[in-house]
Symmetry: C2
Subunit: 350 residues, 2 copies
Amino acid sequence: MNIAVDAMGGDRAPDVVVQGALQAAGETGTTVTLVGNERAIRTALKRCGRKGPVEIFPCDEFVRMDESPMKAIRRKPNASVRVAFDLVKGGKADAVVSAGNSGATFAAGLLVLGKVGGVDRPALASIFPGRAGEVVLIDVGANVDCRPVHLLQFGQMAQAFATACLGMANPAVGLLSIGEEGEKGNEQVRKAHVLLKESRLNFVGNVEGRDIFTGAVPIIVCDGFVGNVALKVAEGLSETMAEMVEKEMMRTFHGRLGFRMGRSGFRKLFETMDHETYGGAPILGINGVGIVCHGSASPRAVKNGVKRAAEYVRDGFQEKLALRMADFNRVPSGCPEAAGGRTAGRDMRR
Amino acid sequence: MNIAVDAMGGDRAPDVVVQGALQAAGETGTTVTLVGNERAIRTALKRCGRKGPVEIFPCDEFVRMDESPMKAIRRKPNASVRVAFDLVKGGKADAVVSAGNSGATFAAGLLVLGKVGGVDRPALASIFPGRAGEVVLIDVGANVDCRPVHLLQFGQMAQAFATACLGMANPAVGLLSIGEEGEKGNEQVRKAHVLLKESRLNFVGNVEGRDIFTGAVPIIVCDGFVGNVALKVAEGLSETMAEMVEKEMMRTFHGRLGFRMGRSGFRKLFETMDHETYGGAPILGINGVGIVCHGSASPRAVKNGVKRAAEYVRDGFQEKLALRMADFNRVPSGCPEAAGGRTAGRDMRR
């Protein structure tokens, strides 16, 4: 197993990325290939002072955080994130992890590896820690103008993902709207509701923004604009509340004492709500495994991203997703598994 | 001053509503007219055991929480929320407060009072407690399919509102998107960005979901679908975190002690984040003052809604909004105030 990590991607690259990659390699035994400027990577490795099963694949270019994703990926064939996906395509790596420009990571994965058959629009999924279990929100920013059929496909991909990688059996799928009734929502959502209802997914109807945190419905489908707003509202509020809890507690003597005494509880809480624990957002619908970490990712976040990527490869996620999508598209009814047996994941590439 | 309160609206109406209305009347001296089933209101009043400057305006019908708003309002001319707006139209009340079916409250206000000149789509604004000051998010659910020009008008209405009622001078307006650059976002948002940039508003560009809580940009514009999702994500996460903070603290001896010692701090925090403190969402763009409270509103939330409504009336919000919209639509450049002097708020009704 070899995970290609975009060493140049992230607000504090390459240092933070190299640190996280080293930790992951040390803890899991997975080989990590650091892709990027060799001198910068070697300096970062020296600074860490630790060794692990890491390799370096040198390349000269990288995509800046503020660059236009698609343009940058097309113009820079030697950009680290694109080279990382080239390694996967060439069979030299099994997955890509990047904390760089998330649009560029997505674009590189799409351009280099191509789409899975039956998928019009690959999407970015985010995993939230719901009270009753994990919640997959899809799409969280890759597709900002979606047609209803794209939302249906997001549900299909997420179902395949949750089944293969999160240990869920026939997970319920909800559609993010502004009221539970099917006629609630905008035009796109009302039409998607009909498609989802007619599909073979375990569709349970509309859900609301608050349901992202309950975990009652493990898959929640939305367009990328809405999903990205939801993600950033959650991040912003979580940070604000963490700050406010501490500030309020520190105002009084008893509060200060209480805060110090309960510090481990607080830490645990904010860790649970923290995107870093979840190791980034998987790209669903490309012919390979790619994980997008937050630009401000810490070494721990990068480490968890690499761990998750290795797990997804081990779970055979990519092959299972391709089989499931082929099945959704080819068999109007009957047993999905029987139909899936006729095709092989790799054959679905195009 | 007389505020018409829809006594039949809300999950626990009329009891909770009557209680809140009584509190508001007692604390502010504002007369409150309870609109709804007379017998039910009298029973609720007896249960409260307190008196205040409250009147009853009897009517037989009401809109259920699960009814289709526009249909219900059209079919039930004697529904409490519609009768409440009739009182405003007839000059017998100054504003309406309802914790009932929010779509129906909005529809009744629109149908009975009509739109302000220059407003294509009245909207619902929600006030968030940002760290650096209050933030007005508009629209939070009244308009689920918006054209770019509607987003521009939301910004104009919110600017008039924040200036008249929140004591802000030339407040900055941001557009909710998924990246700060003008070309980020979906088609609707990219077009709205251009319109807002060309307008006379103090437009500062795109903002992201996390900015709702910073308060750096006091007015944030979005379509009603996106705004409603954002609102419910925030509500859901806030509730979840409150629960989790308590649960985590209660797990250990020191945690329990700390939680008890710091309880007042916690309470203060969750109160700040609580929609109830803010007394509901004002409807902007109709010819009158209407406030939509949460269906699960407590007596305190209803009380704050009535107080806010009275303040808005006292601030002359309605007239100022009409003047400002007339100005935005009639004068291509120059001083808004000078132009505004030529028209009168009431004349703008149509």
